[in-house]
Amino acid sequence: MEKITRVLLLAFHPRLEASHVNRFLLNTLREHPHIEVKDMYELYPDFNIDVNKEQQDLLQADLVIVQHPFFWYAAPPLIKQWIDLVLEHGWAYGTNGDKLKGKQIMHLVSSGGGFEDYCQQGKNLYTYTELLRPFELTYKFCQMQQLPTYVVPLANKIAQIDLEQHAQQVKRILEQWIAGEVDAKLPAGVTYLNELN
């Protein structure tokens, strides 16, 4: 079992200054020496992604976290641009495309709705996991191992104390991950990382 030591957090928010939740999460996590945080909309305001640099950073990482708000049941567009440009044929997939093989990846999502909206009985009919299927397939295609998503629900009206709790929980999980205390094989039945402590 390979020990995870380096975490690359790619934060995608087109208006980070207006998102208290996403800023708070970033500020909590960026202090950790093993977590490298990249504010992608600040780096690529013109969507002109530096493919080389992104690939180098991916090579260094053991766990990639994709942090983003849930907009229109999906992720902001720069994530798609990033996937289109960085996950190149012959590098991430296709002939000799195995550079990401075995790396772990997960989404850290802030959502205006809650779990009760994102289910078959709720108003949005589908779960977060179901709506994130295209990403799941992308990572699978690149032979990456995807971890369950962590969701900060009801992010528009979240109380500061709850937000702090979420941030601490994510931080705790990542620290355990970095220390190698959490086995890559999760307990059966975990659909969201929220269920871990």
Binding site: D46, N48, D84, L85, E88, H89, G90, G94, T95
Partner: protein, 618 residues
Amino acid sequence: MASGLFQHALIYLGTAIVFVPISKKLGIGSVLGYLIGGILVGPFALGLIGTEGHDVMHTAEFGVVMMLFIIGLELNPAQFWKMRAKIVGLGGLQMLLTAVLLFMFLYLALSFSFKASLALALSFAMSSTAIVLQTLKEKLLDKTPAGQHAFSVLLFQDIAVIPILAVLPLLALQSAGGDTPAHRLPPFLSFLDQYPSLLLLAAVGFVFILSRYLLPLVLRVIAKVQMRELFTAAALFFVIGIAWLMESVGISAALGAFMAGVLLANSEFRHELEADINPFKGLLLGVFFTAVGSTINFAVIAADPARVFSIVLILMTVKWIVLYFLGRRFRLVADQQLLFAFLLCQVGEFAFVLLASIAQLGIVPKQELDLFMAVVTISMMVSPLLLFVYERFVAPRFTNDKKTPVAYDAMEAAHHVILVGFGHFGSTIGRFLRANNTHATIIDSDSERVNLLRKMGFKVFYGDGTRLDLLESAGASDAQILISAIDDPHTNMELSELLPKHFPNLKLFVRAKNRYDAYELMDKGITHVHRESLIDSVYMGVDILSELGHRKYTLHRKAQDFIKYDNEALEKLYRHRKSDGYISRLRAETELQERLLQEDKQFLAKAEDSAWDSSHRN
């Protein structure tokens, strides 16, 4: 006689150079430095200055006039109007209460005659405009409530001097036959002497029209000539002219200058005028303080030191108590109230004028007057020391209190960005910043443009952006960013050299015409260099390629890549260039062009990408 002038200039300037830095270093302010310097070079110590100190002092008093002009410039009519209650109420009460108490002291304790006591009490009620205002400016206290209150009192005193001077002859023992010709008008205007109030009105009206309409017109014409010294000459001419006019109709010159200043406060030339007059004001005040120091008559003090110092103590204590009481009545919080009292408790230079007049009229015996002259001077000397004590030992006790709201803060809204040059390039930057709620302070040397911008509500300073004093008043020492967007590369270069030396905290963003300018700027350590020839040229290329049938999004991506590459190439070739700085510029440019084209080849080799293109996959 020229050598005599040189000698005097040397003594006064030398005194300033030696003593002011020392006193500043000790934290006691420049005024005390000048005063101590004056004592040391005066007749009772080194003897470099003889008894002519008094004459020099009267001449140098003109510094006070200039100072009031500058203060007027910083106060527009609306703000001045708001202060009227404070000037009359606070200033009037201060004069009245102090004069009454001092009168009782002089009449009852020192048993002077009724008239002498009254005359002296009025003289001693005055505070020193020169010392207080200089100190306020220097210690940045002029926008505090205490500073504002002090200013109101001083202004009232300046106005009050005139009627007091007029009343003094009435107090004279032998009714002096009015041989003080206040009006010295040119012959063709002398008929106005018969109608003093008409004369007064005419003079004030003239100042109003002159400051409001005539001067801005003249300055605009002078600005077009683009000779800085001509502007300075005009400014001096104007201030001296007003002072002369006011003196000759019997109004205080200081008051006239202040009025003119207030009227010019809204003109676009305000900062330029301020920057021009300021050095003269500073020098004259320095000479004035030095002269005051040199005139202290130590013989008188030595004759009866106990009497001299106890009179000083009583005078200042009485003034202090009155001020402290008034401070409370006019709603100053505790620390401001103390500051206000400490600021104004000295006897000022107007007392010299009044005492001289008293001497002339023979109201008080000569030897007593010499003693009082010494008393006044000593109180002026003690005043900066008292303020030093206040700052060191009294004010720190209040630092835990809630910060007093600075009442006049809005007078100079703090802008964090300064934009030098509002031409084609700069205006785009300025407009873009403004569209994003960032209001840059603009410095521009086109007076018509400045006028227009002012009307549009921009904060604009007229003048040459490479002038340090102008940059200072535009707030360069507090600003975060300065944008140098002038068309002339030499000026941009000059700024890039000047600013890091004088304002090390200012981040510079500099416009460069081309890559060669950019190199020179990089030589000066500027990191934010923007070439005006880069982005527009590239996007013109985008337009052309689009016309030739290329798709726009691909072109946009390629343009972004190219700009990025070109900036990197700039850095890379810059490092090369340094090694062969001896080559002539033309030759260097050709060589550089060649290197650049070489670099391009490498870039092109890598530039092909396969984004959204699967046609060449295997």
